[in-house]
């Protein structure tokens, strides 16, 4: 069996996997792009090999090069992390054909769950409910859609097949509105994506996005590690997750957990995976999709179950039996994860790049930081904007919210803009504290200007003092600097040339 693992990823997840390997006494081989020579995963791994230039398609997506390196350095297994090659069944297949172990599910399960249509049919056949709709049934004509619509029921959504970001999406209340809205949706989809195909989906009111973590071994055992609440999203990007969900009760957890295990068994699932559900306010739940890989937000499940999911992944890949049965598991306390991204929450979440000049991570009781960066490292435009994951644990939901507030306030990241102020505003939001939010909360009912915090009343005054001190300091400085320039030409002339140059 393998004793060296090649990690086909970068950033915090590569570091996370290295840690698990270390604790199991395994050797690690990192791979990196030219932009990542000094990244933390390269510095921490036992071995590191160059893949190619910075763009992902020339480096972290080069499955052939990665398999070559694994064979050359004697790694017996490849861990794909998340993103990049993690959900590519052809890559998993090639890894197996090269005689290596892919730490993840079988290629057939990745393929089955990767295709929306196949996934929906497979789990429906296993008796799992899916969100009613026509997704994955190919492109249907208006007449066909109008016929199907009453069977799905109103209200429903028209969505663009190629879509995203709400473009080409229309809410339909009744059949009379539908022909007009279909036209509008197709037009918008055509102009936004160059593809006018649409599908129908039942509109779930006050939907929550709740997912179940699954572990499955090669001996046919499948267990779930409880749920994660991931409703706080922006443009389908999760921002903050918690476990357990404030919406969940024990009865529903048992029911959904069983369904999740059934869905996993329907594709003979192996290793760690996640079943995503939409849950409406009446606790009806629908299968959304399965993520056939380790999730970004896996740490919150680790915090409340005490199970190291990445180590379990490696054990499962080594052919070992699961060490737990469903009855061994219980949920202890509450965990939150804030994704700290290099994004400006005050400017439409625009990504921010640059060198991190200083990073002081929070610590202390109940705080965990998973990161792949350090002061002096450059956040480049080539990869996603995740800087770190700040994870807190508390005995109760109340305690963990207070702890997360404390940790966010401690966190100092300089050099790029981060979304920490966004998380702070969420932690102060009454609706979040009360647990009453759904998947539309961030986009429709949240603004950085809403501030429910009470004891911040004298902040404007302090801000006024700070701003005054800064401008005082600057005017003092500039009064010392004003003198004839060192340039041989007039400063006015120089400024005008400089401005013209930048046109």
């Amino acid at each position: 069996m393998f004793n060296k693992v090649l990690i086909a990823n970068r950033g915090e997840i590569a570091v996370r996997i290295i840690r698990a390997c270390r604790e199991l006494g395994m050797e690690t081989a990192a791979v990196y792009s030219e932009a990542d020579r000094s990244a933390l995963h390269v510095r921490q791994a036992d071995e590191a090999y160059l893949l190619g230039p910075a763009p992902s398609r020339d480096s972290y997506l080069r499955g052939d090069v990665i398999i070559d390196i694994a064979k050359r350095c004697g790694a017996g297994a490849i861990h794909p992390g998340y993103g990049f090659l993690a959900e590519r069944d052809d890559f998993a297949q090639s890894v197996e054909e090269a005689g290596l172990v892919f730490i993840g599910p079988r290629p057939s399960a990745i393929a089955a769950m990767g295709d929306k249509g196949v996934a929906r049919t497979t789990v429906t056949n296993a008796g799992v409910a899916v969100v009613p709709g026509t997704e994955g049934e190919g492109s249907l004509t208006d007449e066909e859609l109008l016929q199907i619509a009453p069977k799905i029921g109103f209200p429903l959504l028209i969505k663009a097949t190629a879509g995203g970001g709400g473009k080409g999406m229309r809410e339909v209340q009744s059949i009379d509105q539908m022909p007009g809205l279909l036209q509008a949706a197709r037009r918008e989809a055509e102009s936004a994506f160059g593809d006018g195909n649409v599908y129908l989906e039942k509109l779930i009111l006050n939907a929550r996005h709740i997912e179940f973590q699954i572990l499955a071994d090669s001996h046919g055992n499948v267990i779930h590690l409880g749920e994660r609440e991931c409703s706080l999203q922006r443009r389908h990007q999760k921002l903050l997750e918690e476990a357990p969900s404030p919406f969940m009760n024990e009865e529903l957890r048992v029911k959904m957990g069983e369904v999740a295990c059934t869905a996993a068994r329907s594709v003979e699932y192996l290793n760690a995976g996640t079943i995503e559900f939409l849950v409406d306010r009446d606790q009806n739940f629908y299968f959304l999709e399965m993520n056939t890989r380790l999730q970004v937000e896996h740490p919150i499940t680790e915090m409340v179950t005490g199970i190291d999911i990445v180590k379990e992944q490696i054990r499962i890949a080594r052919g070992r039996k699961l060490r737990y049965t469903q009855d061994d598991l219980s949920i202890n306390g509450w965990a939150l994860e804030c994704r700290v991204n290099a994004e400006d929450p005050y400017n439409n979440f625009l990504p921010s790049t640059g060198v991190l000049s200083s990073v002081i991570a929070p610590s202390g009781p109940g705080v965990r930081v998973d990161t792949g960066v350090y002061a002096g490292f450059e956040i480049s435009p080539y990869y996603d904007s995740l800087i770190s994951k700040l994870i807190c644990w508390g005995e109760t939901r109340g305690e963990v919210i207070l702890r997360m507030r404390r940790a966010l306030e401690e966190y100092r990241i300089l050099g790029v803009k981060t979304n920490i102020p966004f998380h702070q505003t969420i932690m102060d939001s009454h609706r979040f504290i009360a647990g009453s939010f759904d998947t539309r909360f961030v986009e429709e009912r949240f603004s950085m200007e809403d501030n429910d915090a009470e004891e911040k009343e004298d902040l404007p005054m302090i801000a006024a003092v700070l701003a005054t001190l800064v401008s005082h300091r600057e005017s003092q400085l500039s009064s010392q600097i004003i003198q004839r320039g060192d340039r041989d030409t007039s400063n006015w002339k120089w400024v005008s040339r400089w401005e013209r140059m930048h046109r």
Partner: protein, 165 residues
């Protein structure tokens, strides 16, 4: 020196004395003010109360990020205030705006053409960076006088993308 700091409709009168003390709303306080590690981040001890904030000058004033709140402050000394008041406080929005790339990236779509009229908030360019598509919007209404990039271009940070006049 006497200053007037304005936040929204509130204003504060702040006098800075040469010994490092300040007078805030008639109250004299000791202020120990330092920048941290040569960064635009400042530590203030105001009569023993400790505050830390990141502070950036912008076109319209000074931005203070304090305990997770972003606050825009306009600071004037008495002379500037008198000047502004006598000129009627007019803000004239004119001149060319050079829309610059806020980060390096790839130009995915340009939904506007040269010569086109745009309203404030219209999408001008979609720039892909960090696997996200970012909409760059018009800061005010105007005419696209020049397009400096085309779809598929890779752009550097601060590169001028188009001129709005």
């Amino acid at each position: 020196m006497k200053y007037i700091a304005t936040i929204g409709d509130k204003s504060f009168e702040i006098e800075i004395l040469s010994n490092g003390e300040i007078i805030l709303n008639g109250e004299q306080l000791t202020a120990d003010f330092q920048s941290v590690a040569d960064q635009p981040i400042y530590s203030l001890l105001l009569d023993g109360q400790s505050y830390e904030a990141s502070i950036h000058p912008t076109d319209s004033g000074i931005q203070v990020l304090l305990r997770g709140q972003l606050i825009d402050v306009r600071v004037e000394d008495e002379r500037q205030r008198r000047l502004r008041e006598s000129s009627g406080g007019q803000v004239i929005q004119s001149g060319d705006i050079h829309l610059k790339a806020p980060m390096p990236g790839l130009v995915v779509t340009i939904p506007v053409e040269e010569g086109q009229d745009v309203a404030s908030g219209d999408n001008l360019i979609i720039l892909e960076s960090m696997k996200m598509q970012n909409e760059l919007k018009a800061p005010r209404a105007g005419v696209i006088s020049r397009l400096r990039v085309k779809t598929g271009d890779n752009v550097e940070q601060n590169q001028v993308l188009l001129i709005l006049s």
